[in-house]
């Protein structure tokens, strides 16, 4: 992780030709919790924020200074669950813990460009819902042209789905899930027994012990090297070494999921990625106390079978009212109607959710859900220097991202966003007329 992070830094540095220290000066610093600093200064050194303060804050002499007069300085948003840049979201194998988005992320995807335009500094790419056990995910920066350089956290989490994948029913889905872990247990037992015997042989001792006892004693001897790639991920997940992103489309799936994860003693490692109807299980989710990532569709519609009358529920409001932190995802991607993360936050405010709760849902809560709450999600000393310099308030629809810094390095400049110019004017600009956004190194 550390290695790839440094590699990424190297690349960004090469592209942006910037030094290690940066400062943003003159803008209004806005944090999701509502705190503001006018004419504030953010200092970033070695990728991390070393100072946040008023105009008097000292700026290191070697820092590249980004003037932000009249601008809003806001933490980079976090996209906590997405399939962007994957050509296909799901492998067509129900239990596939051995696949890895590492092999599929397209660094040149224009969707990463959209992330920067949308103030997103961190992206958790994970496979889709149509699975029983999906593959490993990866947390990346939306900038760079090799996955390794973009990587923030490799092989981060495992995707599971309680909701039946296509063609399955809920019984078969749960049966497959149970079978996968039961198969794993069987396999580990056989490995343990073998390892025990090997160990004995090594010492030239006899195996004078019942098989069950051999399994028990051999368990401690099993290491990851005894397993091949087919088993490693699931084994690590079963031991709680990998977070689980658990898809529960319906409320009933939440209930079944919580129950099953408790049995496996993995509830504490789970993040719930829920559908709209899951709001009915809000109390159970609250009790579980695990992060909840909402679907991009924020409104649940249900028609009364007796009257046909359609009831609409604004899902985030239910979670907000229940005091359950939630994380927002865009619906679709790009700035179609609701494809931007901040638009989703604005919709929450529109429906009466407190501004700080809505903003946290795209920053701090999102960072928490991918285990990076101490690293991302707000502008604070010690956190990473992911900073969006905005032309206005993050929830105002006229706001554009003016500049985007990732770990202190300039990753995007609106002034150089040729694509945005083309879209605005409808003109195909000749290649020379504008330089590509700093992040984009594709042709």
């Amino acid at each position: 992780m550390v290695l790839s992070s440094h590699l990424a830094s190297a690349l960004l540095a090469a592209v942006a030709a910037l030094g290690d220290s940066a400062a943003i000066r003159g803008g209004t610093i806005v944090n999701p919790d509502g705190t503001r600093i006018d004419k504030g200064v953010v200092v970033i050194q070695g990728g991390k924020i070393t100072a946040v303060g008023g105009p008097e804050t000292a700026i290191p002499p070697d820092a590249v200074v980004h003037e932000a007069d009249g601008k809003i300085v806001f933490p980079g948003m976090v996209l906590a669950h997405t399939q962007i840049s994957l050509d296909v979201a799901n492998e067509n194998v129900p239990v596939a813990p051995f696949v890895n988005v590492y092999d599929a992320i397209e660094p040149n995807s224009a969707e990463f460009e959209d992330c920067l335009r949308g103030a997103i500094g961190t992206v958790h790419v994970i496979q889709g819902h149509n699975t029983v056990i999906g593959g490993l995910s990866r947390i990346v920066r939306p900038a760079g042209d090799m996955v390794d350089y973009m990587t923030v956290r490799p092989d981060y989490a495992l995707k599971l789905s309680i909701t039946p994948r296509g063609g399955f029913n809920r019984m078969t889905q749960m049966a497959e899930l149970r079978a996968a872990f039961a198969n794993l247990a069987n396999h580990i037992e056989s490995v343990a027994e073998r390892r025990f015997e090997e160990e004995k042989k090594k010492k030239d001792e006899k195996v004078l012990i019942l098989p069950e006892e051999a399994v028990k004693q051999g368990m401690a001897l099993v290491t990851i090297d005894d397993l091949d790639a087919r088993w490693r991920t699931l084994w690590r997940a079963s031991k709680g070494e990998i977070p689980l992103f658990v898809h529960c489309d319906r409320a009933m799936d939440v209930m079944h999921g919580i129950e099953w994860l408790k049995e496996l003693k993995l509830l504490e490692k789970s993040v719930f990625v829920v559908g709209t109807e899951a709001f009915k299980a809000v109390e159970a989710l609250k009790t579980a106390g695990r992060p909840v990532i909402l679907s991009g569709v924020l409104v649940h519609k249900e028609s009364d079978p007796l009257t046909g009358k359609v009831t609409e529920t604004f899902v985030p409001k239910v979670f907000a009212d229940a005091g359950v932190p939630f994380v927002l995802q865009p619906n679709g991607f790009g700035f179609s109607a609701d494809g931007m993360l901040w638009y989703q936050a604005a919709r929450c405010v529109r429906e009466g959710i407190a501004r700080d709760v809505a903003l946290k849902a795209v920053t701090q809560a999102a960072a928490d859900s991918i285990g990076m709450g101490d690293t991302l999600g707000s502008l604070a000393v010690g956190k990473w220097g992911n900073v969006a310099i905005l032309s206005g308030d993050p929830l105002d629809q006229a706001t554009f991202v003016d500049r985007m810094l990732i770990e202190g390095r300039l990753a995007y400049e609106r002034a150089n966003d040729r694509r945005l110019k083309e879209l605005s004017t409808g003109q195909d600009l000749p290649p020379a007329a504008a330089t590509a956004p700093a992040s984009s190194s594709k042709n």
């Binding site: 079978p305 007796l306 009257t307």
Partner: protein, 366 residues
């Protein structure tokens, strides 16, 4: 119980004496369904020459064949407006969208075994309904499920025209392909042709807006009309109840079974509560007809309205209420005797008379 029936069957059906005038028949029951659907007091029902002669507590005249049903309830023979009983082939002529000249009576097969089954289960009159693929489908045939000899069915007239304004009349294979294209023509036809002096138009409409269009178009043309299977009438109930430009006189609902959604059942109740006479349809099967009424009743449909929905409401729709639909002196002797309220599924049919002739009793099960 069985013996008098045998006697009756012999008296009426003895093939050797067809020319003889059968003697008048007197039935004694403990309760009689009133024209308004209430369960009224029982008494003697005297039938002569296929008609109801009198009803009352008084002893029947001498010379009558007498049948007494302890615990019996006499109901008017059931009338099922929407059936395809005895249809020989299709009842739709889909080549053209407007076929007012089609009459389903021309496709009737009177000897069809389904009529006997219908009669046994208490259905004495059915409508043979055109197919429902045309904007004007054709005329409904009125069929009695048994003729005077109690053997085959009998066509006894042509009922109302049936129209379809729901989606199945527009399948894209002929012009007009849409309601937009059809309505100008239909309006013109309704304006040009005189309204029938009696009877009503049966119009199939499903969604709320189709119902609105029917009310606008038929009500606007001053026509009396009834809705066929208006499954989403609940959405348009204000319009149906209101009298913007005319309102439906009646609606045909059913069949219901155990799988019918609550919402569909509720529509029946809403219509009835809104003053629309509901005629149940069981597709010609008396059992289904009664199940339809039973399901509706259990869901809060008024019991009296449910009983009229089994007979009188349908008779009115077919324009034969002077002949059938109630137990009243002078009407045809179409009767069902059960051992309980016809709304109760547990009640068994004891006797069915079509035009005074008893329908061959249901086979005793082995």
């Amino acid at each position: 119980m069985l013996e008098p029936l045998f006697f009756l069957a012999l008296a009426v059906l003895t093939p050797g004496v067809p020319s003889l005038q059968p003697p008048p028949l007197a039935l004694h029951v403990d309760a009689i369904i009133q024209p308004d659907g209430a369960i009224g007091p029982g008494g003697w029902i005297v039938l002569r020459n296929g008609r109801i002669e009198s009803i009352g507590p008084a002893e029947p005249p001498v010379g009558c064949a007498r049948l007494e049903f302890a615990g019996g309830v006499a109901a008017p023979g059931f009338v099922d407006v929407d059936t395809s009983l005895g249809a020989a082939g299709q009842l739709s002529e889909p080549a053209r969208p407007f076929t007012p000249e089609v009459a389903t009576g021309d496709a009737l097969e009177p000897d069809h075994s389904s009529f006997l089954a219908a009669a046994r289960s208490g259905v004495t009159t059915v409508g043979l309904m055109p197919g429902g693929r045309n904007i004007i489908d054709g005329r409904v045939a009125i069929v009695r499920t048994a003729d005077d000899d109690g053997r085959g069915a009998q066509l006894c007239g042509h009922g109302p025209l049936r129209y379809t304004l729901s989606a199945q009349a527009f399948d894209g294979s002929r012009v007009p392909t849409s309601r937009m294209g059809a309505l100008p023509q239909l309006r013109e036809m309704l304006a040009k042709s005189p309204a029938p002096s009696s009877g009503t138009s049966l119009v199939a409409a499903d969604t709320a807006d189709e119902i609105r269009i029917v009310i606008d178009t038929f009500g606007g043309a001053g026509r009396s009309f009834a809705l066929l299977h208006p499954t989403r009438a609940d959405d348009a109930i204000e319009l149906v109840r209101g009298s913007v430009s005319g309102r439906p006189t009646a609606a045909v609902i059913g069949p219901f079974d155990l799988d019918t959604g609550e919402r569909d059942v509720r529509v029946a109740k809403l219509l009835a509560d809104g003053g629309v006479a509901v005629a149940f349809s069981g597709g010609g099967d008396g059992g289904s007809l009664r199940l339809t009424a039973a399901v509706a009743t259990r869901s809060g449909f008024d019991a009296k309205a449910a009983r009229t929905g089994l007979s009188l409401a349908g008779a009115r729709l077919l324009g034969i209420e002077s002949e059938a639909g109630t137990i009243e002196a002078g009407k045809r002797a179409d009767l069902v005797v059960l051992d309980g309220d016809p709304l109760d599924l547990a009640a068994k049919v004891k006797l069915v008379l079509v035009g005074g002739a008893p329908v061959e009793a249901a086979k005793e099960s082995p």
